[in-house]
Symmetry: C2
Subunit: 220 residues, 2 copies
DNA sequence: TAGATTGTTAATCGATTAACAATC
DNA sequence: TAGATTGTTAATCGATTAACAATC
């Protein structure tokens, strides 16, 4: 908190760097859990399979946090990256669509681990509404706007069927939720909210590409 | 000049280009479904929010498929990108771990849409084994090695709990499955198999970053 | 043909790597 | 201190954009 905006220069961090931060964060979390106190750029480079130069450049984007001759303090670096990413900002999320994928996310540690609080689940199905899952009573979509107006969640996790995606996305956007974690296979661009489109299928295709590349080379 | 262009496979396609192909594929699928026959690089650029130059460069990596003065044939381009990605190679997949996420994937069209055939589901839980889900009878993990030896699936979808991830991954690798679509939060690197590590949490963090960036600017 | 749009080369931009002086 | 390792500048590499000649 007190370190926020300590750098007067408007150093913009490139998206290439931002996209690497979650991976650094994961490795640092593991190191921290293992009780490691310090790490050098070259040790970390070895672990991640990238160059030490890149690590030093990246970490320097947000102000020198290493110590010459010593390396980086694992807990401090971890905390610093967390604060850059907005982890532990206390963001609150709701899941819209309580099918298998919605339930999988609701029961996973993915929110807690990033300091995001899951607050509510929504669905339209009368067979689900009113039921309890993972300690949440599933709410009907007719309550959605009122709920959002009252609780002002930051993030909507969108796990509804394809057919209703655009309609539900519009409701989320109009209700004033600022971030959408979109798991449907429709690429969304909303007027106000920021959207992270996941597109799991894209990674399956990349895997297929890798398989074909490999088998081609192996001469199978 | 024309002798240089004999083999379009000769050119190495950069990973930057490969990573864009799934997105092209999605947009082309939509255009094809809408009955669009031809599209120019500038029209597509407008849709995707990138430059027409980049599109022409990308498509040219795998041999000129456009026609000067006309543009690109949507169906042909679609088929060509599909073949580069290895979509419709007839790859076969099994899901290992039939919890909420495994079931969500089993019931989603993600495999069918990429020409991948889902063949079997595996789990250890006695309450699941023997049950039927999405037309598949769930098999016990004790049958895994025999099944793989007999059916030789190409892809294992890994949706098991964190605690057993490494152990199950080893079994998959030893059994000779060549591709792993890994949804656990452990980053895997296997001796033989190619792994796509998904790390949903990373995208949640990126979303948090975007939210904080935005609210900082908005002066909330 | 004439207009349109690609294929391709050249210019620009950005990101990664290398090198080393600063300094803990 | 002396050794180690960062912070930072400079060099390299790769990717994107611009421009235009080729050509449908």
């Amino acid at each position: 908190m007190e370190k926020e905006n300590k750098d007067p220069r408007e150093k913009t961090i490139s998206t290439a760097v931002i996209n690497r931060l979650p991976r650094y964060y994961r490795y640092l979390a593991d190191l921290k859990d293992a009780g490691v106190e310090r790490i050098s750029s070259s040790e970390l480079a070895e672990m991640l399979g990238i160059t030490a130069s890149q690590i030093r450049q990246d970490f320097n984007c947000f102000g020198g946090f290493g110590q010459q001759g010593y390396g980086y303090s694992v807990p401090r670096l971890y905390e610093h990256i967390a604060s850059i990413l907005g982890v532990n900002e206390g963001y609150r999320a709701v899941i819209v669509g309580t099918g298998n994928l919605g339930r999988a996310l609701a029961s996973s540690p993915v929110f807690r681990k990033r300091g995001v609080t899951l607050e509510a689940l929504f669905d339209v199905s009368p067979s689900l509404v009113g039921q309890t899952f993972c300690g949440f009573s599933i709410l009907g979509m007719e309550e959605f706007e009122d709920y959002v107006a009252e609780h002002r969640p930051d993030i909507a996790v969108l796990t509804v069927p394809r057919a209703v995606t655009r309609e539900v996305a519009e409701r989320i956007d109009r209700a004033g939720i600022r971030g959408v974690w979109n798991f449907t296979n429709i690429e969304l661009h909303l007027a106000h909210a920021t959207v992270q489109n996941i597109h799991l299928g894209d990674t399956l295709m990349t895997l297929c590409y890798d398989l074909r590349e490999k088998s081609g080379r192996a001469g199978e």
